[in-house]
Amino acid sequence: MTPLLEQFLSESHEFSQGIGQKLMQLEDQPGDRDAMDELFRLMHTLKGNSGLFAFPEMTRVLHAGEDLLGMVRSEQISYSRELADRLLAAMDFVMVLCGDIEATESIDAFRAQDSVQIAESLRALMPAPAMAIHGASGAATPAAAAASTAAARPDAAPPLFAELPEAARSEAIRQSQGGVALHWIVYSPTPECFFVGDDPFHRTRQTPNLLWGCLRSRESFPPLAELDTYRCVLDFHLLTAAPREELAKYFRYVPDQISYLAVDPRWLAGERLESARGPDAAASNEDLLPGDAPPLAENTAQLPPEVRAALDTILSAQRKILQLDDRPAWRPGRLKSVAALLANLAMAAGDASAGDAIEAALARALASGQVAPLLEWLDSSTLDASKPGVIPEKETPMPGQPDAPAGVKFGRRAEDRARSPEDGVKFGRRAEDAYNGPKSLKVDQAKIDCLMNLIGELVVSKNALPYLAQRAEKQFGVRELSREIKSQYAVINRIADEMQGAIMQVRMMAVSFVFQRFPRLVRDISHKLGKEVQLVLEGEQTEADKNIVESLADPLIHIVRNSLDHGLETPEVRRACGKPEMGTITIRARQDSDRVVIEVVDDGKGIDPAVIKRKAYEKGMIDEAALERIGDREAIDLIFNAGLSTVEVVTDLSGRGVGMDVVRSAVHKINGSVSIESTLGKGTTIRISLPLSMAVSQVMIIESDGQLFGVPMDHVVETVRIPRSAIVWIKQSMTAVLRGRIVPLKALNSLLGVSAPPRANGDDELAVLLVQAGGEILGLLVDGFKETLGLIQKPLGGVLSGLSAYSGSALLGDGSVLMILNCREIV
C-alpha cells in the first residue's frame, strides 16, 4: 500500500465520521449555515480525494452526495430526515468500500451495482432539472430501464438479436452448449462521455470474449453543418461469452450505462422471435428488425378504418389523462397505466419494438416527474394519425419544483468539465482545506507499542542497578562506587519514570472516540422503536489508554441498546406515568483516581427484582432456597448471567439473553468491573469501572514455598496475620473469623499443587492475603509478603498461554521472572 493511499484511507475515516456528525447536527438545527458549509466542504474534499485513485464506485456515490448537498446549500431543496438517512447510508457504503480497499487495495467489481443504486437514490431526491444536468444518470436510465424490462420478460429476445450473423450464431450456440453463459449487453454511453476522456467504441471493442456486436445511433444524424462532434449518440449491442463478474469488472467505470441480459439458449436455436410475439406479428417483425426505430406507418395505415377510429379514440383519451394535473400524487400511477396501454396498442398494431421505446419514455417520465417523454412518444409515433397540431402544455412541471431550462445548464456543465483541470478556484479551495487541519501526528499504533515495550525493558534493566550497587559494596567492598551507582540510578530512575509517563500520555485517548458513535446509534434505534430519546454525553474528554477505550465500545453498545429497548418506555407509557415524553439516556465518563468510571443512566422503567428472580428460577439458574434468600440487589445482578432475558419476544435489538453477560466478560477481560443500580419506575444506572491503563499494573509480591508470585493490587483487599489457633476447620475447609465475618481460607501452596505446608512466623502466625475473586472475599495462606511494584505485564505466549492460573509474567530488577497469579482462576 502506498503512503498516499494510507493517508487517503485514514482521512476518509475522519471525513466520513465528520460528515455523519454534521448530518445529525443539521437534523437538530436545519438552519445552521456553518454546519452546512462544513458538511459540503467535507463531502467535496472526500470526493476529490477519491478521484485521485481508481475508485469509481466511491467517487460516483460521493459525487451524487456532493451534488445533493450543493442543492441543499443553495436552498433548492430542503433538508429532511429522508435525505439524512440516504446520505448516512451512502457514507456507510463509503466506509465499507474503505474497508475493502484496506484489505485488498481494490474494490470488488460487484460493488459497482450498489454504488449506482446509492447514487441513484441520492439523485432521486433532486428536482427534475438537476437530473438532466447529470446526464450520467439521466440519459442512461432509459436504455438501462429498457433492457431491465427486457430482462423481466425472459422469453423475449432483444430485437437486435435477429441481426446475429450465422458465423457468430453458430459460435454462440457452440459456447452455449459447452455450458458457457452468454450475455447480451446494451451499452449506452452518456452523450457527454467524450469530455471525460471516454472512447465507448474502444471500450466496446475490448470487451472480453466478445462474440458479436453492433452499434446503433440513438437518433438520426442532422445535416453535417449542425452535427455536434462531441456528443455521443451511439448505443452498442454486444453478445459476449465472458462471465458476469468479469464484465462487471470490465465495465466498472460505466456500470450505470450498461445493462445485462442473460441469453436464453432458445434464442439461438433459430426460432427467432415468432414464438414470443404470435404468428401475426411475425411477418412484420422480419421487416422491422434491421432498424432501431422502424417506420410504423406501413402497419398502422393498413389497419381497417373502424380499428383506426377506435385506436384514435383510445390515444386521444391517453393524451387527456397525461395532461390532467389535478392530483400530482397520482401522476406516477397514471404514467404507468398509460405506458402499459400504449405498449399493448403498439403490440396489437404490429409494432413490437415500440414497447422498449415506451418503457424508456416511461422511465424518463417517472424519473423526472413529468409527462413530456410519453407525450413526445405519442407525437413521434405513427400509431396516432390524429396528432393534434398544438399540445396545450408541453411540459407540466410537478408543483413546487423549479422549472429551470435544462438545456442551458447542460451546456455550461460540459464546459465546466472540459475546463476543470486548470480550474484555479478549486485548487485554492483545496489549499484552504489543509489550513484547518489538526496539529497532530498520525503514528501507527505498532510504533507506540514498540516504544512501550522498550520503556518496559528500560524500567526492568534500570532496576538491576541497585543490585549492582549492593554487590559492589558487599562482594567487592567498594562503598564509594556503590554510592555513585546509587546516585546514577536515582537520575536514570527519574528520567525513566517521566518517559514512561510521557509514553502513556501518547497512548491516552479521549473516550469521545467511543462516545461519538452513540448519537447515530440512539437516533437509529429510537426511530425504529418509536421512542423519543434524548442522549446526553458527559465527560467526553476523559482519557484512558487506547486499548481500554477501544474495548469499551462493545459493552457500551450493548448497554445502551438494552436501555433503549428494555429501559425506556414508549411516549404513551411515559405520559401515563407522569414522566416527560422524551426519555433521557446519559452516558457519563469521569476519572476516579487511577480508574475511569463510565455510567450509563436512563430514566426508564427500571428493573423489577421480582421479575428477574422469577425468570431466573424458571430458567433453573437459582433454586427455590435462593429465590427466597437473595435480596433485590443480588437479584438485579442476576441479569449479568448468560441466558437470562426478561423479554418474551426476541427482536433484532435484544432479548437473546446474551447482552449483559457479554458486557461483564468484556469488562472483566480488561480488569474492569461492572455494577448496576436500579429503582423501579425511576430508571437504571450501569456503572463500569476500568483501569486507566493496562500497560503498568500494580502488583503485590508474595512468597510461598521459596518462590515469588505477584498478585494484582486490584484483587488485594488486605494483608493480615492470623494466629494458627484462630483457624477453624469446617469439614475439609479452613475458615477464620475476621472483623465479624467468616472468611474461607485456602493455602496457596495446595492451590498450586505444591505439597509444602504454609510456613508460620515466630509467633506461630500465618500470613493471609485477603483477595477479592468473583465477588467473594477469600483468604490465601502464603509464607510472606513483599513490596508492591509497578510492573509491565506480558501475557504468556506459546504453550504457556494455556496456563489459566497465571495472568501473565513480568521481569524483576534482578532479571528473575515473576509469575502473576490470576486470582479468579486459582480459587
Binding site: 444524424f221 453535417l224 452535427l227 462532434t229
Partner: protein, 80 residues
C-alpha cells in the same frame, strides 16, 4: 498526423483520436465527394466514427484489421 487529407481522399492511420473529429467533419463538409481510406487504421475514436456515419463518405479501402473492418462495415453500411 493520424489523418492525412489528400485532395478528395482522407487516409486514416494508426489510432485516430478524438481531437481529429472536428477537422474531419470540416473537411468532409468542404468536399463534394469525399473518399476515405481506412486501410492503415487501427482504431478510431467514437467521435470520428459518428462523423463518418453521419457524412457517409465513400470508403475506398476497409481496414486491414478484420475485427475493426467488421465493426465499421456493419456501422457504415447501415447508414448508407
Amino acid at each position: 498526423m493520424p489523418i492525412e487529407f489528400k485532395q478528395d481522399c482522407a487516409l486514416f492511420a494508426d489510432v485516430v483520436s478524438v481531437e481529429e473529429a472536428e477537422g474531419l467533419l470540416e473537411w468532409l463538409q468542404k468536399q463534394p465527394s469525399p473518399k476515405v481510406d481506412l486501410s492503415a487504421c487501427g482504431h478510431l475514436h467514437t467521435a470520428n466514427l459518428q462523423v463518418l456515419m453521419a457524412a457517409k463518405p465513400e470508403i475506398v479501402n476497409w481496414p486491414a484489421d478484420s475485427a475493426l473492418r467488421a465493426w465499421l462495415e456493419s456501422a457504415l453500411n447501415l447508414t448508407t
